[in-house]
């Protein structure tokens, strides 16, 4: 429908890519969370969740990011964990 948009949409504006990358990297820079610290958090999370489910440890991803909270204009830092669950353990056990 929008004839011109068809062309501009072909590739994302590189400034938006820059802005997003910058935002992410600054979250790391601003928080004093070192990679070692993130590893420690990861270890503890794995320990806790392993009690309830079998997880794929090689696929775990834990990172700091910025998120927009509802009703809050400025983004807040968030710890995002992506933990693939292979199998839920038997609750009775």
């Amino acid at each position: 429908m929008d004839f011109f948009k068809m062309f501009t949409r072909k590739k994302e504006n590189s400034k938006n890519v820059a802005k997003e990358r910058l935002k992410l990297v600054l979250v790391h820079d601003r928080s004093d969370l070192s990679p070692r610290f993130l590893e420690m958090i990861k270890g503890d999370i794995v320990k806790v969740i392993s009690q309830y489910a079998e997880i794929d440890e090689s696929e775990i991803e834990i990172k700091m990011t910025k998120m927009k909270k509802e009703g809050n204009k400025s983004p807040v830092s968030a710890l995002v964990a992506n933990i693939p669950i292979v199998n839920v353990k038997d609750k009775k056990k």
Partner: protein, 270 residues
């Protein structure tokens, strides 16, 4: 003897190298002198002296900042008077020493001494956040951070804002240098709002990427003196804002259009 003043010391810093700190320092210093203020531009980049060549004063250096600190000469002897402006002086960096030659407390003393007889002290900070940076911000009352619209420069600017804050240098202001309106228009360069949004500090000015800066640096004449150059106007606006005047932000896009309309006028007559 002139009555004692109480000048303001402003450090020009960036974190990242090559974003235009020295050019900015030379232009702000010269611009303030053009308005009639008494100004010292101080090159704090010991070992990598450059403010002298940007200002065209490299042939006049006898003493430098380390000589002053080590008391090999009097402060007045080391101040080089500008060729063109009556009340503009350069305090050059030492070229053969390293950044351990000046300590923060010595810098504070030096800057306070200069503030007694000048309206503005403009301190050109070295790149990085190590020793040289640390003494260059000591003694400053205000901080101006220079960045370009590049991801690496903005990242370093953010870091420096944090460090200035930690050193009790509050509310630094930002100059965005080397903006290319054509790239901003296409969406291939972060714009002013993008950068301000990310860094969350006050903007004191924008400077377009302008050939006239290279040309003026070649000649050793800060572009702020060039009435025709857009970058010159950008620096003149920044200088006026430093003195507390409210000046509208330079519209880089509009300038493109006015150039275009000039061309139209040339072709079609008035």
């Amino acid at each position: 003897m002139a009555k004692e003043k109480m000048g303001t010391a402003i450090v020009i810093t960036s974190g990242k190298g090559g974003v235009g700190k020295t050019t900015t320092s030379a232009n702000i210093g010269t611009g303030l002198a053009k308005l009639g203020y008494s100004v010292v531009v101080l090159d704090a980049d010991i070992g990598l002296r450059n403010l002298d060549v940007v200002m065209g004063l490299e042939n006049r250096i006898v003493y430098d900042i380390v000589d002053v600190v080590e008391k090999n000469c009097k402060l007045k002897q080391a101040l080089i008077k500008d060729k063109r402006h009556e009340k503009l002086y350069l305090l050059p960096a030492a070229q053969t020493k390293d950044k351990t030659a000046v300590k923060p407390e010595q810098m504070v003393e030096l800057v306070n001494e200069l503030k007694k007889s000048h309206d503005y002290i403009i301190i050109d900070s070295p790149a990085g956040i190590e020793q040289g940076f640390q003494y260059s911000i000591a003694g400053a009352d205000r901080g101006i951070i220079v960045t370009t619209p590049e991801i690496s420069a903005v990242r370093d600017a953010d870091r420096v804002i944090g460090i200035l804050e930690a050193n009790e240098l509050h509310d630094p202001q930002l100059i965005i240098n080397r903006i290319r309106p054509d790239m901003v228009k296409r969406g291939d360069m972060m714009n002013i709002d993008d950068i301000i949004d990310i860094l969350a500090i006050d903007l004191i000015g924008i400077v377009p990427d302008d050939e006239s800066i290279v040309i003026s640096t070649n000649k050793g004449e800060p572009v702020v003196m060039d009435e025709k150059a857009l970058a010159g106007k950008a620096y003149r606006n920044i200088v006026r804002r430093i003195t507390g005047e409210e000046v509208e932000l330079l519209n880089l896009e509009e300038n493109d259009e006015s150039k275009f309309s000039k061309v139209l006028k040339l072709i079609f007559g008035k």
